[in-house]
């Protein structure tokens, strides 16, 4: 107990004030500092972020890390087991080094998984915010078209569009983008409708701000977070679907390394080297689950509901 009674709190109310004063620096920190702090304390999210970062670096620096050429095979060393000297993860059905092909394959798999969500995020946010803010007929028009695409199960829609357009990376990306735009529109529309009716938006409008300014200054800041979180949760699905399209022969074409396509061409090898054959799928799984958990962690840290 301190003897400097002059500074010691005398009443409960003063004690409360003192506690608040001590907490003040913590409270005044920004929203993002709080998010960052919560994220760092979440071991699962941190682990997932680290794994994804390592994978990202590995596929970016694939040419430096890969021990062999991704296309150069040899009939003499087909389907070696995992742990073969010089071929750490074995070789594929054409005698190409698996480690090398997995490193290079990640480039296309990540690209095809993330790009559709990124494009859909931009397009879906624009259309959804427009529908939510404008309301009325604009809302009707955008949301009814969205309903139509909702009437297809997502895998079926992706297969239908890329199946009709034919195999190819661009067609697969186009198909996946079309799959992800409608759900993002729905989320964007619903959060925008919620924000639009809040007092500060009315106040901004009443003080003469134009629609564009209101959306840019007052609406976007409040809706981008939830939409972004939702979009990150789609990356996992997108990775699985993108590799799935390649697995069906609709995405990448051989001999290009891509995890889904590698899984497909190695299917015939499951009786010879089963554990080599399932490696590309394990890569998809790890990426997908990490993106999923990272998205969950972000949602909690940013305190977004839904």
């Amino acid at each position: 107990m301190s003897m400097t009674t002059t500074t010691a709190p005398q009443t409960a109310a003063e004690a409360e004030l003192a506690v608040q004063a001590r907490q003040a620096p913590v409270r005044s920190q920004g929203y993002w500092a709080g998010v960052w702090k919560r994220l760092r304390r979440d071991p699962v999210t941190v682990a997932c972020a680290l794994i994804l970062l390592l994978m990202f670096l590995a596929i970016v620096f694939a040419p430096l890390l890969a021990p062999h050429d991704p296309y150069q095979g040899s009939m003499l060393r087909r389907l070696r087991a995992i742990g073969t000297p010089g071929y750490l993860l074995g070789t594929d059905e054409l005698g190409r080094d698996m480690l090398t092909r997995l490193l290079y394959g990640g480039r296309l798999s990540w690209f095809m998984g993330i790009v559709p969500v990124a494009i859909a995020f931009v397009v879906g946010t624009v259309l959804g915010v427009l529908a939510g803010y404008a309301g009325g007929k604009v809302n009707m028009a955008i949301m009814r078209v969205t309903d139509v695409f909702y009437a297809f199960p997502s895998v079926l829609l992706a297969v239908a569009i890329s199946g009709a357009l034919g195999a190819g990376i661009l067609n697969a990306i186009l198909a996946l983008t079309l799959v992800f735009i409608p759900p993002i529109i729905r989320v964007a529309e619903s959060v925008t409708t919620g924000v639009r009716s809040l007092d500060f938006v009315d106040a901004a409008r009443a003080s003469g701000a134009g629609a564009f300014t209101v959306v840019r200054v007052h609406v976007l800041g409040n809706v981008l977070g939830p939409i972004f979180i939702y979009a990150t949760s789609l990356i996992s699905v997108s990775m699985i679907l993108a590799s799935g399209l390649s697995f069906l022969g609709l995405g990448t074409k051989p001999p290009e390394p891509e995890w889904g396509l590698m899984l497909n061409t190695l299917r015939t090898a499951i009786y010879v080297q089963p554990w080599v054959a399932v490696l590309p799928g394990a890569c998809i799984f790890v990426t997908s689950i990490c993106f999923n958990l990272l998205s969950d962690g972000l949602r909690q840290a940013m305190d977004v509901k839904g």
Binding site: L156, A164, L248, L250, L263, I289, D296
Partner: protein, 317 residues
């Protein structure tokens, strides 16, 4: 209620038409002349022109859509380019197989999802909760076509317990619940069930946790109701939303089984689609997608109506 019923059913009509239009457009966006979806590419020129006139492909697009729609309404989905049979003849057997697979997978996934989700929601924060959440995340994150391969490696290649391919001697046309048939169903059904398992676990956990936090549960406990009694109250409150999610999942299973069917060569709509894509057999592609999408539209309608009927809290005008 009756007004809502009528409005909801009427609303499904434009959606179904629009879905039909999207399916119609699939052939239009396909590279090359849409006529190639009807006659083989090596047909002589005068035959091509004759068919073009017969099918009305020389007319403007909206008229073509009308003609196509009339045919579809009469059950004519065209003919397969690869086999020459009507699309419907192949499709009808395939749908039976897919429905069988999807139904079994749904039962597996829903049962496990409800149990895991219910327990996790009741005992939030427990070890059990963490295991359930982990299982759910793994279930929705796993590329199921890969899981299928892993299961084949374990149970077909290594242990030699279950067959890796096909639907057994009978298929769905001559399906019987004996071991020879059922053993072909196990691996594909388990593989397909992981996604609904994950989603249902998450959903049920969320719903149950929310209900358990409500005051009426405390009140029921307070008045001394047995655990069983409280459980029944929670189930009654959770059922409408949980059933709605499960209903839609069945539709996703029907449409999403293409990858699993490809892995296991299960003779359903997915394998049919896969073959159609490889042979660029556009009528089969279009017909299959149309029928599956229409099934999904109908399912959406049924789920909405069922949810309204089951849940007195939803008062829709």
């Amino acid at each position: 209620m009756i007004r809502y019923l009528i409005r909801r059913i009427l609303y499904a009509v434009p959606i179904a038409l629009a879905v039909g239009f999207v399916c119609f457009m699939l052939v239009q966006i396909a590279p090359g002349d849409p006529i190639n979806a009807i006659v083989p590419p090596d047909a002589p020129g005068d035959v091509v022109e004759q068919v073009r006139r017969e099918y009305g492909l020389d007319k403007p697009l909206p008229v073509q859509f009308g003609i196509w729609l009339m045919k579809v309404a009469q059950g004519d989905l065209g003919r397969s380019l690869a086999t020459g049979r009507t699309v419907w003849s192949d499709l009808s057997t395939a749908i039976g197989n897919t429905l069988l697979l999807a139904a079994v997978a749904a039962l597996l996934g829903f049962a496990l999802g409800c149990i895991l989700g219910g327990l996790a929601g009741t005992f939030r924060g427990s070890l059990l909760d963490r295991v359930a959440v982990g299982t759910a995340v793994a279930g929705v994150s796993v590329p199921h076509y890969w899981l299928g391969m892993v299961l084949v490696v374990i149970f077909s290649v290594q242990l030699n317990w279950l067959p890796a391919m096909g639907a057994g001697p009978g298929g769905s046309a001559d399906w019987s619940w004996d071991w020879e048939q059922v053993k072909h169903l196990i691996l594909p059904a388990v593989t397909l069930s992981v996604i609904p398992m994950g989603i249902v676990t998450r959903t049920v956990r969320g719903i149950v946790a929310e209900i358990m936090n409500q005051e009426f549960v405390v009140a029921l406990r307070g008045k001394g109701l047995t655990r069983r009694g409280v459980f029944l109250h929670v189930v009654k409150n959770a059922a409408p939303n949980a059933l709605a999610v499960m209903g839609l999942q069945l539709g996703y299973l029907m449409g999403g089984s293409i990858l699993v069917e490809t892995v296991f060569s299960w003779p359903g709509t997915g394998l049919l689609l896969n073959n159609a894509i490889f042979q660029r057999d556009l009528p089969v592609l279009q017909g299959t997608i149309l029928v599956l999408a229409m099934f999904f539209v109908a399912l959406n309608l049924v789920v909405d109506l069922m949810q309204t009927a089951l849940d007195p809290r939803i008062r829709r005008a």
